[in-house]
C-alpha cells in the first residue's frame, strides 16, 4: 500500500507534476509524428535528465514512454500512418472510421481504451513487482544467466521478420558490449590498441545513434511523403461517444489489457506483438467479426488497450532482475545508473520510496495524457500536420549530435553515435532488429557476469545449468521459444509457396 503515500507525495509537488505534464505532452506529440517513436525521444532527452534529480528524471522519461505509446494512435487514426509499430493494428479499424467522418469518435475510444489498459498494467506492476523481487532475490547466478539466455533468444528470434537476422542482431549487440576492459580481469577486448575503446562503448550515444540518427537516415528517403489529416465531421452525433456505444468495447478492453500486461512482462516482445495478438483475439471472439477491418470501434479499443497495458509490466523484469523488457527499459537503465541507483532485486530494499513514487508518477501521467488526448487529440493532429518534416528532421539531426556529446563531454561518443546511426539505418533496411541489438548490448554485461559466477560455483563446468531445475527450465523456455518461432516461420513459408507467392 506504499503507493498511496507516494501518490500524495507526488500530487503535492508542483514541480514534479509539471515534469509529468510536460512528459505527457511531449510523448503524445512525438508518438503522433510518423517515424518518430517514444524510444527516439527518450534517447535524445536522456542527457538532459543527467542534470535533474533522480525522480523527476525517471518520471519524465517513463511518462514519455507511456504517452508516446498512446500518441501512435493519433497518427494511425488521423493520418493513416502508424506513428509506432504497435499502432499499425489500431490503423486497421481507426482509419476506416476516420474516412466515415468519425475520427473524433475513434480517438475517444482509443484514448479511453489506452487509459484503461495502461491503468491495468500499472496496477498489476504495483501489486506484483515486489513479489517478483522477493523471488528474484532467491535466484543464484546460474538461474539469472538462464533468464538472460532466454531473454536473448526471445528478443532475437520472436520480434521482426527474419529469425536469423534477429538473432544476428542480438549477437552483434553482445559483441559490441564486449569492447573495452573485461570487468573481472581488466583484460583488453576488441580495443585494437585504441585508448578511446578501452572505456567501452557508452549506451547513450549508441541509443541516440540507433533510434534517433538512424531514423533521420530513414526519413531522408521518405521526405517526399506528405502527412495529411482526414477531415473530421462537425456532426456531434458522429463524433460524440456515449456509454452505450463504448459498452461493447469493454470486454475487449479488459481482455486485451491482460494480454498486453502478460506480453509486457516477457522481455523484448513489446507493444506491437501485444496489439496484434489482442486484435486477432478480439476479432476471433467478436459478435461482429465481419465489421472488423471496416471501422469497428472494438477494433480500435482492443489493440489500444493491449498496446498501453504493456507499459507498466515491461518495467517488472527491469526493476526486479535488471533485465530491460523494452527499448525504453534499456534506456531507463542508463538513467538509473547515472543517478547511482542499482537496479535489480535489491532496488526494493535500497530505493523503495523512489520506485513507488515513480509508479505514482506513472498513474498521474496516464490521467494527464488521457485528459489531453480525450479533449485535444484533434488539435495535436492539426499541430503535427503543420510541422514541416523537412525542417523537423534536420533539427533532430543537429540535436542528436549535441545530445551524444553532452552525455560524457567526449567527441569520440559522437563518432560512435554516427556509426550507430548508419548501422541503425542499415539494420532497418536489411530486416535486422535494432531493438534486439540495443537490448542485447544492455543485457550482455549482466549475462557474462552471472555466467562466470556460475562457473566459479560449479564443480562440473557447464553442467550446473542443467543440474539446477529453475535454470534448466529457463534454458528450455528459450529453446522452445526459438523452435516455436522457427516452426511458425516455416509454416508461413509453406503457405506462401502453396499460394504461389514464392
Amino acid at each position: 500500500m506504499e503507493i498511496f503515500p507516494a501518490l500524495a507525495s507526488v500530487l503535492t509537488d508542483p514541480i514534479l507534476l509539471g515534469w509529468v505534464l510536460l512528459a505527457a505532452i511531449v510523448g503524445m506529440v512525438v508518438g503522433a509524428i510518423p517515424g518518430l517513436t517514444a524510444s527516439a525521444a527518450i534517447a535524445m532527452l536522456v542527457p538532459l535528465t543527467f542534470y535533474m534529480e533522480p525522480l523527476p528524471a525517471l518520471a519524465f522519461l517513463y511518462v514519455i514512454g507511456k504517452s508516446g505509446r498512446y500518441g501512435g494512435s493519433i497518427a494511425a487514426i488521423l493520418f493513416n500512418t502508424p506513428g509506432t509499430a504497435a499502432s499499425a493494428a489500431t490503423q486497421i479499424d481507426g482509419y476506416p472510421l476516420a474516412r466515415q467522418g468519425k475520427a473524433s469518435k475513434a480517438m475517444k475510444v482509443a484514448t479511453i481504451s489506452s487509459v484503461i489498459g495502461d491503468f491495468t498494467g500499472e496496477i498489476l506492476l504495483i501489486v506484483g513487482v515486489a513479489w517478483i523481487a522477493i523471488i528474484a532475490l532467491k535466484l543464484g547466478p546460474p538461474e539469472l544467466f538462464a533468464v538472460y539466455f532466454a531473454a536473448f533468444i526471445v528478443i532475437g528470434s520472436v520480434i521482426g521478420k527474419s529469425v536469423t537476422r534477429g538473432l544476428a542482431s542480438a549477437a552483434l549487440g553482445v559483441l559490441v558490449a564486449m569492447i573495452g576492459l573485461d570487468p573481472i580481469s581488466s583484460t583488453e577486448r576488441f580495443t585494437f590498441g585504441s585508448f578511446d575503446l578501452t572505456n567501452g562503448i557508452s549506451l547513450v550515444p549508441l541509443m541516440i545513434g540507433i533510434f534517433v540518427l538512424g531514423e533521420v537516415f530513414t526519413q531522408i528517403e521518405e521526405k517526399h511523403v506528405k502527412v495529411e489529416m482526414m477531415p473530421d465531421s462537425k456532426d456531434a452525433a458522429r463524433n460524440g461517444l456515449s456509454f452505450a456505444e463504448y459498452q461493447p468495447c469493454l470486454p475487449h478492453v479488459f481482455r486485451s489489457s491482460f494480454i498486453g500486461a502478460f506480453i509486457g512482462m516477457l522481455p523484448g516482445l513489446g507493444s506491437a506483438i501485444a496489439a496484434f495478438v489482442a486484435y486477432g483475439e478480439g476479432k476471433r471472439r467478436a459478435k461482429n467479426p465481419e465489421e472488423w477491418g471496416h471501422g469497428a470501434l472494438e477494433g480500435v479499443a482492443a489493440p489500444e488497450a493491449a498496446n498501453n497495458a504493456v507499459s507498466g509490466p515491461s518495467m517488472a523484469p527491469l526493476l526486479t532482475l535488471g533485465i530491460p523488457g523494452s527499448t525504453i527499459g534499456a534506456i531507463l537503465i542508463g538513467v538509473f545508473l547515472i543517478h547511482g541507483i542499482q537496479i535489480g532485486p535489491t532496488l526494493f530494499l535500497t530505493s523503495r520510496d523512489l520506485v513507488f513514487a515513480l509508479f505514482a508518477c506513472g498513474l498521474i501521467g496516464i490521467v494527464m495524457y488521457g485528459l489531453i488526448g480525450y479533449f485535444g487529440a484533434a488539435f495535436v493532429g492539426r499541430f503535427i500536420t503543420r510541422i514541416p518534416t523537412n525542417v523537423l528532421y534536420p533539427i533532430i539531426f543537429l540535436t542528436s549530435f549535441v545530445a551524444a556529446y553532452t552525455s560524457r563531454g567526449n567527441l569520440f561518443d559522437v563518432y560512435v553515435m554516427v556509426a550507430a546511426g548508419f548501422a541503425g539505418w542499415l539494420m532497418r533496411k536489411l530486416d535486422f532488429n535494432p531493438a534486439a541489438f540495443v537490448i542485447s548490448f544492455v543485457l550482455a554485461g549482466g549475462a557474462e557476469e552471472t555466467f562466470r559466477q556460475a562457473l566459479l560455483l560449479s564443480d562440473n563446468g557447464l553442467l550446473i545449468f542443467v543440474q539446477r531445475p529453475i535454470a534448466f527450465g529457463f534454458l528450455l523456455i528459450g529453446l522452445l521459444a526459438l523452435i516455436a518461432r522457427v516452426r511458425s516461420v516455416k509454416r508461413a513459408e509453406r503457405l506462401r509457396t502453396e499460394r504461389g507467392l514464392g
Binding site: A171, S185, F397
Partner: protein, 156 residues
C-alpha cells in the same frame, strides 16, 4: 529464415561469416586471466561463433531476395558524409562554426532551398544550441583545435 524473403541474403550471409571469423580470431587472442582461465574469452567467442553459424544458416535458407530500394543511396551517403564532417569540424573549429555550416547543409539535404531560411539556420541553430546546452545546462563545449570562435567572442 524469414517470413517472406529478406533483402540481399547472399551479401548478409557472407558479411555475417566474415565478421564472425574476424571476431573469432580477435576473441582467441584475448589474454587469459592470471590463473590461465578462459573467463574473458567466453562471451566474445560465443558471440563470434554465433555470427558464423547464423551466416551459414542465412546462406543455406536463401530463397530469392526482396528488392532493395537504392534510389536514395546518394542522399544517405551525403548525410553520412555530412555527419562525419560535422564531428571533424567540431574537433578543429569548435561547435559554433561547425554547427553554422552543418545546419544549412542538413536543411539543404532535406530539400530546403530558401536562402533566407538557410542563412537564418546558420545563425540561429548554433546560437540556440549553445545557449541551451553550454550556457543553461553548463556542459563544457567542445573546443576547436585549430580555431574556435569562442576565443574571439568570449562566450564561455
Amino acid at each position: 529464415m524469414a517470413t517472406g524473403s529478406s533483402p540481399a541474403p547472399l551479401a548478409v550471409g557472407v558479411a555475417l561469416i566474415l565478421i564472425g571469423i574476424g571476431a573469432t580470431a580477435t576473441s582467441a587472442s584475448i589474454a587469459l586471466d592470471q590463473y590461465g582461465r578462459w573467463g574473458a574469452r567466453f562471451f566474445p567467442l560465443a558471440g563470434s561463433l554465433s555470427l558464423i553459424v547464423l551466416g551459414l544458416v542465412e546462406l543455406r535458407s536463401m530463397r530469392g531476395s526482396a528488392a532493395l530500394n537504392r534510389r536514395y543511396l546518394p542522399l544517405i551517403l551525403a548525410l553520412l558524409f555530412l555527419s562525419v564532417a560535422y564531428v571533424w569540424t567540431i574537433s578543429v573549429f569548435g561547435y559554433l562554426i561547425a554547427t553554422a555550416i552543418a545546419a544549412p547543409a542538413a536543411l539543404w539535404l532535406f530539400g530546403i532551398r530558401n536562402p533566407v531560411g538557410l542563412g537564418a539556420a546558420a545563425v540561429l541553430c548554433p546560437a540556440i544550441y549553445h545557449l541551451i546546452f553550454f550556457q543553461l545546462l553548463g556542459v563544457f563545449p567542445p573546443l576547436g583545435r585549430w580555431f574556435d570562435l569562442m576565443d574571439v567572442i568570449g562566450g564561455y
